[in-house]
């Protein structure tokens, strides 16, 4: 049995040269995530933001009521799982003074001029995320404030589930999705009805973190 010595090596080299790369998905199912704000008569500006790698993990504080910390952690986990390359990370913290994001069980505070607000309006509860962006500035001031609020008695059917999915929705705004999805199958639909992220939500989150933002974040 005589086997030419170079035959196995040659075979492997030929096989390797002829093989193609893995093909990426198109991510064409992503929706618009940037915020278009009026900037004067007939003009508008488009705001885009994501947390820079130097600010990760984002520190999140949640009010300890109605199981809110667990809902926030679940929301963080869902958004972290949307990413393939550790683009986003967040942890919960015990002291709200150290937080980049503060989550409270309360109605949204009175809106002022320097606040960019995103709202979610589910039947059983409401949510809002406020970003402080001083007029003319492109530097977002921390903490970002998230409000979730039950419309009925928290023990009423559907309210707890509504709070959970609304928290996940609002956490989506905090990562940088500044707009709503037009599809009810996405968690970022303005009136969210699904509890998990869709493929469109994940594709959008990936685009957010691979597009240069024009809004920065203030020092902690």
């Amino acid at each position: 049995m005589k086997i030419p010595a170079a035959l196995p090596i040659l075979g492997i080299l030929i096989a390797s040269i002829s093989c193609a790369d893995i093909a990426s998905p198109t991510r064409s199912n992503a929706y618009e995530w940037r915020r278009i704000e009026p900037a004067g008569p007939g003009t508008a500006e488009t705001l885009s933001f994501h947390w820079p790698a130097s600010r990760l993990p984002v520190k999140v504080w949640a009010e300890d009521t109605l199981n809110l910390p667990a809902k926030v952690q679940a929301g963080i986990d869902k958004w972290k799982a949307a990413f393939l390359y550790r683009e986003y990370d967040a942890v919960t913290v015990a002291d709200s003074n150290l937080a980049d994001v503060v989550v409270r069980l309360a109605p949204p505070s009175k809106l002022t001029l320097d606040v960019v607000r995103m709202r979610a309006l589910a039947p059983e509860c409401e949510g809002a995320t406020d970003f402080d962006l001083p007029s003319g500035s492109r530097e977002l001031q921390v903490p970002v404030r998230v409000f979730v609020n039950p419309r009925f008695d928290p023990a009423s059917p559907g309210v707890d589930q509504c709070l959970a999915l609304t928290v996940t929705h609002e956490m989506g705004h905090t990562i940088g999705i500044f707009d709503h999805s037009p599809s009810s199958s996405d968690i970022m639909f303005f009136d969210p009805v699904v509890s998990d992220l869709s493929a469109s939500d994940r594709a959008t989150a990936e685009l957010v973190y691979h597009t240069s933002p024009n809004v920065t974040v203030s020092a902690r």
Partner: protein, 198 residues
Amino acid sequence: MRTLLCTIASLALLVSPAQSQVAYYGRLGLTASTKLIRDAVVQEIDVQPGLAPTIVLGASVPFAPTYQAGLEASLTSSGFHSSELGVETDLGTLRTGSLLLNLEGPLAPRLSWRGGFGVIRYWPADQEGIFLRGGTSRFLAGAGMDYLAPLLASWDLMISLRYDFHRFTTDELSARGFSGSQGVQRLSLSAGLARARR
């Protein structure tokens, strides 16, 4: 995959160590790998393991006048990272284990060649990102050369160069709509001791 593992195990047992001259060896070295993924979200993103410390254990038995059949296991552990526009992001620790059924033969005095097939398993330290649904096992083809020099009465110095090739993907990548798989080539250099057959 299971069939291949069974075949490897069966062939390894075909020749009883007690009835033949089994050669054992162990080596330490380094393994370099090409990228595991080339993705494009907006810009191109590559994922690649770092240079990995490697431990290799193996055995071989003669089955023809000048040829041996061998089984070689190797373990590597290193960090892996993504890079986009020159910016690298640490993705954690990645371990691999591979098992190859080899055919070995002489090439020159003290120099031998080997080629074979087997499996490689990826074990990420963290179940996240491209490994969100766990590690992955892939078929592997490899080849290499060994240099043996007498060192002690019954031990040789063994210096080995290995090349192997497999196609990489994970369940998470498939679920995300990636199609096909990425050709991954690895090259390792290692040195150790082989129990001489003389």
